[in-house]
């Protein structure tokens, strides 16, 4: 039995997680050991009953009662201690394995490129990190110790029976082949039906999601009944499948129970003759005959469990195996360090010259070339603007400058050197970045600001705040800079978050400043503040501005106009207007909208 299980385990993907267990393998060994001693006491306990029957009752002699009690108590104590240790260890192993895997996964995610995050939803990645790991953790602890308990008990019981009375044991064990056949008949069906129930359950959750998230739309369409009938169909299906599953499970459990009664009947029928002389042995046989079936019945649960866990193992180890599209070469890591051990002493100062040299680019998950032999110089201190409609692909150039992606062909030069010659961390630490949807981290405002420059003085902090006109935002906060911003900064309004994230970027005093639709999702007041601050904070820096609103980019040195992922026009504001092309069209339309909004306000 045990052998077969090991074979199965390998098959269930266990092999793939063994390398990650190095820190707990000693504990696992201990857990198994104490699991064994625990199950040994379970096998021994009925033997006390046998002794009591044969010696005390059979011979009427209580001469050994004291020593009997002592041994009995000791066995109980050993059982308790073994169970304590193996259970405590199981939890410890479970939690440490979870921790280890989660950390590994988390660390790995910090190095993966954006294409991974674009292709996989946050929910999906989050589930890999949190639920897959915990399933694996419980596999190497509880499932394992359970196996040890149950199967060593089974083997122990068989051994003791053989020792006590080989003939009777042989008769009891003769039902085992029958059980194997029964097991083979049920196992596959049970596993299938278990899976089906799980799938329907997931579907019902999905339906709830739809019914609740889409409630407003459902109402306005007046299709409540239609949605409801679909839902009812699903719950009906769930009910049917669950009952079907319980029939199958009940049948299986029933036959197993019947088998254990057959064993009991065999003991009584064939073993009854010994009852007069060896009543103790007889009673022990009865206990074992009934206890033997338990591990076998449990086998179905464990296998169906292993099959689901196998999926978790596969998905999680796949996550760890994903390679980043953007990786620092060994030489670069050698010189500049990696994210955990940066060698800041070797970092050069960034000057702020950017050059695209014959760059051709295609997103790893896309099938269209978005840049073809594109060359452009953005010398230090100049301002580049990229405009176009939402979803037109304006972020591509910024992604390349930040080396979130690398060109398919050609090079991006930072200060005249290929961006790949220095580490990502070096580049990111020197670039200021303000995103469309501002994101703050749990903690105080001050902690968030200091992200940009951990060594900034109080003065510098206030200068940065002042530079982006965020003074009154801070003044409004209850505890000023020490106000907690909440998870993802959600205790603040989007506008407040944006001004703080703007200040955060400025505080780092970056040579290259990137504003990625910084005003697109904020209120008009914040927008006005950011607009007003722009000229001041971009002076003395190379700036890249992605903008939806064209009035903000009029002063840029170069404007790139993007449509359907491609750059269609390029030039200064007045040149582009003269062209009377796409930029002109966008501009007039926006002017119209702005004028309208102004009148209506």
């Amino acid at each position: 039995m045990a052998d077969q299980t090991t074979k199965h385990l390998k098959f269930f993907g266990i092999g793939r997680i063994i390398p990650y267990l190095s820190k707990v393998n000693k504990l696992i060994f201990l857990m198994v050991f104490f699991g064994l001693t625990g199950s040994l006491t379970d096998i021994i306990l009925p033997l006390f009953q046998r002794y009591a029957l044969d010696h005390f009752v059979g011979q009427g002699a209580f001469d050994t009662i004291a020593i009997f009690t002592v041994f009995y108590l000791m066995t109980i104590l050993i059982a308790a201690v073994s169970n304590y240790i193996s259970c405590a260890l199981a939890i410890i192993i479970e939690m440490r394995t979870n921790r280890e895997l989660r950390q590994l996964g988390f660390n790995h995610l910090q190095t993966l490129s954006f294409s991974y995050f674009n292709q996989n939803s946050v929910g999906y990645i989050h589930a890999r990190l949190m639920s897959d790991t915990s399933r694996i953790g419980s596999l190497v602890s509880w499932t394992l110790v359970d196996c040890v308990w149950r199967f060593s008990y089974l083997i122990g019981a068989i051994v003791v029976m053989i020792v006590l009375n080989a003939k009777l044991a042989a008769m009891v064990l003769s039902i085992l082949p029958l059980l194997t056949v029964l097991y083979a008949i049920f196992q596959k069906r049970l596993i299938t039906v278990n899976r089906q129930v799980r799938e329907i359950n997931a579907q019902i959750t999905g339906n709830y999601n739809e019914g609740i998230t889409g409630a407003k739309t459902i109402k306005s369409l007046g299709i409540e009944e239609k949605i409801q009938s679909r839902f009812t169909e699903e719950t009906q299906n769930m009910r049917k499948k669950s009952i079907q599953a319980s029939r199958l499970r009940g049948l299986f459990a029933g036959t197993m129970n019947l088998a254990s009664s057959v064993a009991l009947a065999i003991v009584l029928w064939k073993g009854g003759y010994i009852a007069t002389e060896e009543l103790g042995t007889f009673s022990v046989f009865m206990s074992y005959a009934q206890g033997m079936m338990e591990p076998l019945r449990w086998l179905v649960d464990i296998i169906s469990d292993l099959i689901t866990t196998q999926v978790n193992i596969e998905r999680f180890t796949n996550l760890l195996a994903v390679k980043s599209d953007v990786e620092d070469s060994p030489e670069v890591v050698e010189k500049y360090g990696d994210i955990l051990n940066p060698k800041k002493e070797n970092w050069e100062e960034l000057r702020g010259d950017i050059e695209f040299k014959d760059v051709t680019f295609q997103y790893p998950d896309g099938d269209e070339t978005v840049l073809e032999h594109f060359s452009l110089k953005v010398p230090f201190g100049s301002h580049l603007a990229i405009v176009g409609e939402t979803g037109a692909g304006k972020s591509t150039l910024v992604n390349l400058v930040c080396r979130f992606y690398e060109p398919t062909q050609g090079r991006v030069l930072i200060d005249g050197r290929d961006a790949r010659e220095r580490s990502q961390l070096w580049l990111h630490s020197a670039i200021g970045y303000v995103l469309q949807t501002p994101h703050l981290f749990s903690g105080t405002v001050r902690e968030n600001l200091l992200m940009g420059n951990p060594d900034a003085s109080e003065d510098q902090i206030w200068q940065a705040i002042h530079a982006v006109s965020a003074d009154d935002v801070i003044a409004h906060l209850e505890k000023g800079l020490d106000t907690d911003v909440g998870e993802g900064g959600d205790l603040l309004s989007t506008g407040e978050k944006q001004l703080i994230s703007f200040a955060r970027a400025i505080l780092a005093d970056p040579k290259i400043l990137i504003l990625d639709e910084a005003t697109a999702s904020v209120d008009t007041l914040t927008e006005a503040k950011i607009q007003a601050a722009l000229e001041g904070v971009t002076a003395g820096r190379t700036s890249l501005m992605i903008a939806h609103r064209l009035s903000t980019v009029r002063n840029a040195d170069i404007i790139l106009v993007v449509k359907n992922g491609r750059i269609v026009e390029q030039g200064s504001h007045s040149e582009l207007l003269k062209l009377q092309g796409y930029y002109y069209e966008l501009y007039t339309r926006q002017y119209e909208e702005e004028a309208t909004a102004k009148i209506l306000a």
């Binding site: 839902f231 769930m238 049948l251 029933g254 009947a265």
Partner: protein
């Protein structure tokens, strides 16, 4: 469970499941009784059939034995006893099977009723309720709280019943054989139950702490994944890893501590119940020798005692868990007790192709100042009405009121369609006949064709295609490999904002409703598409009453009547030709939108 209302709610959920529960409980009773019989057969075999002693079995048993040939005959033919074991086992298996299947039937019927009623209730809760309550929270109540409630009603309650029955019967049978030994066996039980109960009450806080810590860890991962761009842009990977590591360690340590407490509890329970068994073994032996207990009785006594041990250990936990279920039931009751939308008893399916009239309508949202003041206008059937207004002017509220998504209080004016007050029109009928595209339309996770055709009972592919063409969505759909059968949403392609809006427009057009509302629906699409869609819609003008809410004069100018809303009041009313020179807001906007050429440098 706070009040009567909740209990009556549970009673309502139990509808249709009660008889299954009854059978379940009956089957549990039969199983328990059969469980009790098995040791009696063994006892009879050992004491009477083999031991040749007298035992006080009930008269009907003795009669039956005598008819077969007396105990001595049975001792010669032990197979008859073995057969009795098997027959009882068969009864056990059948009743267990019945218990399992009917328990599942009961719980699945129950959970289906709960899910259906809850879902239906949610569908019929008013729009304002959905605006007020957070989606995530409602989903939580519908999934995990439902599961807890189900477990409470189907597993815990039946388990408590089973355990109590088993306990009572075991004690009764034990008492019938040896009251004094029974007393000794019962001695430690109050201690075990009390210890377990108190422990589980206490450990509750520990579990909560662990949950909270896990929540934090999970949120941290979520925050990191959503903020991946910021993390990278600021080179924050290392700090993030350290932060995660700390929380990861905290959580693990918390659980390790918890694991030790739990294991301690388990092993102390092991000792307590081990000692209890030991007492029975030793004192049983003593009574055996003294002659007050027969050997067979001794063995069956030990069997009964074994049946009792686990239930006793479970009982404390059961009781402590019952209190947790109350919380979940209350959370479900919160939804079920929220009042649903209701039609007046005399509501009718009035014809919807009449004039629409807002008759001195004023409106305020709950706990907010009045947003619409004395709105009064009439729109002739089959004409087109344009509405121009800034953010917060109340134009969208107007449409929500027309669709009865917010009810108009008595005394705040009337809205009539064809002369009938909409309060008197059946809500479902009204909404099915008013086509409206919400600003944030929701698409269902079905195919595109199903989404467009969702309002019609028998979706007609021709009509769906035509609607998609009119909404300028046809081209996008054809670019998908699966075309109209492409799945939308989580399980399929993600549509862009503009595509979603066009799909929602198509969904509305396919229905050919007598009233159509476009609430800024074309804002997310570009001018070209806007024009295309408008042309397609204009073809349908004349048949339907169309309301266009827009900022674009080009969109509004074709309307038969235009009203201008400002801060909840109608400030201008007329046609494009009269308004464009009336000297009001409309004229200003008209000029701003057509005088572009001169404004541009």
């Amino acid at each position: 469970m706070k009040n009567k209302q909740t209990i009556s709610l549970l009673w309502r959920f139990l509808k249709g499941a009660k008889r299954y529960f009854l059978i379940t409980i009956l089957a549990a009773g039969i199983t328990a009784l059969a469980d009790m019989l098995q040791p009696q057969i063994i006892r009879a075999a050992i004491d009477c059939a083999l031991g040749g002693k007298e035992a006080d079995f009930p008269a009907f048993v003795m009669n039956a034995v005598d008819r077969i040939g007396g105990f001595a005959y049975l001792g010669q033919h032990l197979w008859i006893m073995a057969l009795a074991v098997l027959i009882v086992a068969l009864v056990q298996v059948v009743s267990q099977y019945t218990f399992r299947v009917f328990n599942t039937k009961a719980s699945e019927t129950l959970v289906k009723t709960m899910r259906d009623q809850l879902f239906s209730h949610i569908q019929h809760l008013p729009f304002s309720w959905h605006m007020k309550n957070r989606t995530g929270d409602i989903i939580q109540r519908c999934t995990s709280d439902i599961d807890t409630t189900k477990n409470f009603l189907s597993e815990q309650l039946t388990s408590v019943f089973r355990i109590a029955l088993l306990l009572i019967l075991s004690v009764a049978f034990m008492c019938s054989m040896h009251p004094l030994l029974t007393l000794i066996a019962m001695l430690p039980t109050p201690v075990i139950i009390l210890y377990s109960f108190r422990f589980h009450k206490k450990i509750h806080d520990g579990f909560e702490k662990c949950d909270e810590s896990e929540g934090k860890l999970s949120a941290m991962a979520q925050e990191n994944l959503t903020g991946v761009r910021v993390v990278r842009a600021f080179g924050r990977e290392r700090a993030e890893i350290e932060k995660f590591e700390k929380q990861n360690n905290d959580y693990t340590t918390l659980w390790e501590k918890m694991g030790k407490t739990l294991s301690r509890f388990w092993s102390i329970s092991d000792i307590l119940s081990g000692v209890q068994v030991m007492l029975v073994v030793i004192f049983g032996a003593v009574y055996c020798v003294r002659g007050s207990l027969l050997e067979g009785e001794y063995i069956s006594f030990i069997s009964y005692n074994a049946m009792m041990v686990w239930p006793i250990r479970q009982l404390g936990r059961m009781i402590s868990e019952l209190s947790k279920a109350g919380v979940s039931i209350d959370r479900v009751a919160y939804i079920m007790n929220s009042p649903v939308e209701q039609d007046a008893p005399d509501a009718i399916d009035a014809p919807m192709d009449g004039d629409i009239c807002f008759d001195h309508v004023s409106f305020a949202y709950e706990n907010s100042p009045e947003i619409l003041h004395d709105i009064h206008f009439t729109m002739k059937a089959g004409t087109t009405l344009g509405i121009l207004g800034g953010t917060g002017s109340g134009k969208s509220t107007l449409m929500l009121l027309l669709d009865k998504l917010y009810p108009l209080e008595e005394g705040c004016g009337r809205i009539t369609i064809g002369g009938t007050d909409i309060r008197k029109i059946r809500t479902g009928h009204l909404r099915q006949n008013i086509g409206m595209v919400l600003q944030e339309p929701y698409l269902f996770s079905r195919t595109i064709a199903e989404n467009i055709g969702i309002t019609s009972p028998e979706p007609d592919m021709e009509a769906i295609r035509a609607a998609a063409q009119a909404a300028a969505l046809d081209e996008s759909i054809n670019s998908f490999t699966a075309g109209y059968d492409t799945m939308v949403g989580e399980r399929g392609v993600t549509l862009s904002g503009g595509q979603k809006q066009r799909a929602a427009i198509a969904r509305m057009l396919v229905n050919d409703t007598p009233i159509m509302i476009f609430d800024d629906s074309l804002s997310a699409v570009d001018t070209e598409t806007d024009a295309k869609i408008r042309q397609a819609i204009e073809k349908r003008f004349g048949k339907a009453s169309v309301i266009l809410i827009s900022h674009r004069i080009t969109t509004l100018s074709a309307a038969d009547k235009i009203i201008v809303l400002d801060r909840g009041r109608i400030v201008e009313e007329g046609t494009h030709d009269t308004l464009k020179s009336a000297g009001g807001i409309y004229q200003k906007i008209y000029e701003a939108q057509s005088g572009i050429q001169e404004v541009c440098p």
